[in-house]
């Protein structure tokens, strides 16, 4: 990925200047998360149960995409196999649900841990690999893991898969909204934690290693360790997302985690804006709604039911190609650019106001 185009001057709207966010990372990100939570609460409580279900799905994809964005955009490591980490998370949580009666929280932590562990196993050799090699290895990972569940079908439920159970909703809240909220809270917590991390020395080390490994090591950064940490965090995020996906679908089977999922995650991440966290909301919205739009689109053009299943795939593929050749900053980058344009037009040319460092969160 080309490093983000330096922003130069980024004038802010006057009201933004007045509305100061706290500078302490936790406080700052909590405020943002609470604002997000308030908006999402308003959204979910006004929507139908089915739409709530979709909002929950968006939230879970945000988790996976944020992890991927950190890995690829900020640390320069590519993964074509994030679906595999989601599968590990989903199966781990589902196995615990089938065989034990633990708290959902513990099941989620187990999913995060299991996926993180696989991230460690893959991440250690990955430290020695350059782009194409790592891409090939993770591509193979995405194809290699799902058949294992078919091989030991008594444990993993074979084609039927494992069923998951959502904890019953308190009070009169409908189950879809309750699940959506579990997933939204998970997403917001993940984003807050990642945003904190990226504003610390770890975030700086990730980017430094991405830009120049030799200079990073001379600055005292343990390059290999930094890359493994990024990989584990990213895999752990995918694990949590996988566990949530299992909750959404109600059943975990290998059909949920084809290679296409991994590639769609990559496409959504690239389109949202590689290396950003907030841009992942755009990517997740696309992941959830693009298949629906393409179905209705192919209906409009009478392409037949066979075509509709593939139209979304084609669009994702075209998006990957076009974004890479024409606009490597994705939607979030495009919005930032447009925002800057609007305000630099307002404040007039030659406005040399202090520039603002572009934080990734």
């Amino acid at each position: 990925m080309t490093p983000p185009v330096p922003s130069g001057s980024w004038p802010r709207a006057p009201w933004v200047r007045r509305l100061r966010l706290p500078t302490q990372p936790l406080a700052r990100h909590l405020v943002l998360a609470l604002c997000g939570a308030a908006i999402l609460y308003a959204v979910t409580s006004s929507l139908s149960p089915y739409n709530d279900f979709e909002v929950g799905e968006i939230a879970l994809y945000v988790i996976a995409l944020a992890g991927l964005s950190l890995l690829t955009g900020l640390n320069g490591q590519i993964s074509l196999g994030h679906g595999a980490f989601m599968a590990v998370g989903a199966y781990s949580a589902a196995l615990l649900m089938t065989h034990t009666h633990l708290n959902l929280l513990i099941e989620l932590v187990a999913a995060i841990g299991a996926a993180g562990l696989l991230g460690l196993v893959i991440g250690i050799p990955a430290t020695r690999l350059k782009g194409p090699y790592l891409a090939g290895m993770t591509l193979l990972l995405a194809l290699a893991l799902p058949p294992i569940a078919d091989k030991w079908s008594t444990t993993f439920g074979g084609d039927q898969g494992l069923t998951t159970t959502v904890p019953s909703a308190p009070g009169s809240i409908n189950p879809e909204e309750w699940l959506a909220w579990i997933q939204i809270v998970g997403a917001l917590i993940t984003l807050v934690l990642l945003a904190n991390l990226l504003r610390s020395r770890y975030g700086r080390s990730f980017r430094a290693v991405r830009d120049d490994e030799i200079a990073a090591s001379l600055a005292g950064i343990h390059v290999a360790r930094t890359k493994v940490i990024a990989f584990v965090i990213s895999a752990a995020c995918a694990g949590l997302a996988g566990a949530f996906l299992g909750l959404s679908t109600g059943v975990v089977n290998t059909g949920e985690f084809p290679l296409t999922l991994s590639i769609q995650l990559l496409a959504a991440m690239v389109l949202g804006g590689t290396g950003t966290l907030m841009g992942m909301w755009w990517g997740a919205v696309l992941l959830v709604y693009l298949p629906q739009w393409s179905t209705s689109l192919s209906g409009d053009f009478n392409l037949g039911s066979g075509a509709s299943a593939y139209l979304a795939t084609i669009i994702f593929g075209v998006v990957l190609i076009v974004v890479m050749i024409a606009a490597p900053t994705g939607i979030q980058g495009g919005l930032r650019w447009a925002w800057r344009r609007v305000w630099s037009l307002r404040s007039g040319p030659g406005d040399g106001t202090p520039t603002v460092s572009r934080h990734p969160a």
Partner: protein, 292 residues
């Protein structure tokens, strides 16, 4: 014992196919430092075209030939339209573009030809040969695979070693800038490398299709096996691709024969990881000089 013999023979035939696709990856990688993850999907697409031609009554060998030519053109087209604009950008960009091409081609194939897997004819009988009184898991078609891939490999080696075109191609792959200073049109030769890779990829598609569930995704696994093969072979040399192909083919054939076919991709993953841990740039590759 007979299981071992059959599994070995099967691995040999598969290994040759992986070698053909690995050769395609090598041709591109050594000239442009790009792994074309869409190589398998390009082979898938051309095989579907072959299937259409056969459906319209074109003779098998005419279709075979036509598809190799189409593979050549497709390879050149991809290089010119999609890869050339990425020159000078980060090494992750081509990875993502070729992945994008992979899903576009699979989506197109699914849209045009449907998802259900269909049959694809083999050039020769697929029933096992009889040696003495026992039937072995090696058919006339497997012999054809062996011969076809060996012809491809030999052709590539002759091209590289014995022709001035091959000399230009090697020179521009090893030292693009110096070659340009010697009047070599490096840009054209890079396109030619992609085009030849397209031929090798098409051939592998034609050889895989009869023995697999021929559909939009039938080359996915073949591609990652070929990638494993190419990496073991060092991603630089055609001979390495052949050796890597055989190692990979045999390994996953043994995994499939003794542990179950579902574990074959995992076997390949372990093989790839071991190979990469041992020598991150491939077993047969020269160690890279460190630049500071």
């Amino acid at each position: 014992m007979s299981l071992f013999v059959n599994v070995t023979l099967n691995g040999l035939a598969n290994g040759m196919i992986f070698a053909a696709l690995a050769l395609a990856l090598v041709l591109i990688f050594r000239a442009t430092r790009i792994v074309n993850f869409a190589q398998g999907a390009m082979g898938m697409m051309t095989t579907f075209i072959a299937s259409s031609l056969l459906g319209r009554g074109v003779g098998y060998w005419w279709a075979f030939l036509a598809v190799l030519v189409i593979g050549f053109v497709l390879g050149a087209l991809v290089e010119r339209v999609l890869i050339r604009p990425l020159q000078g950008k980060s090494e992750l960009n081509p990875v993502i573009v070729t992945i994008g091409l992979l899903v576009v081609l699979e989506g197109l194939a699914g849209t045009i030809y449907g998802n259900s897997s269909r049959g694809f004819p083999a050039a020769y009988s697929q029933s096992g040969l009889t040696v003495g009184h026992t039937k072995i898991a090696f058919s006339h078609f497997d012999v054809f695979i062996l011969v076809a891939v060996l012809v491809l490999m030999t052709g590539t080696l002759v091209l590289f070693r014995a022709t001035s075109l091959g000399l230009r191609m090697r020179a521009s792959a090893f030292a693009g800038e110096i070659s340009r200073l010697l009047g070599v049109r490096v840009g054209v030769l890079l396109t030619l490398g992609w085009a030849l890779a397209g031929v090798a990829g098409s051939l592998s598609g034609l050889l895989v299709a009869p023995t697999s569930s021929f559909g939009p995704y039938f080359m996915d696994l073949v591609l990652v096996y070929a990638f494993t093969a190419a990496v073991i072979g060092g991603l630089e040399s055609p001979v390495g691709a052949l050796i890597g192909g055989l190692i990979t083919g045999l390994s996953i054939s043994y995994v499939g024969g003794y542990l179950g076919s579902g574990l074959q991709p995992l076997g390949a993953l372990v093989l790839l990881m071991v190979a990469l841990m041992a020598r991150p740039e491939g077993i047969f590759a020269r160690p890279p000089a460190r630049r500071v």
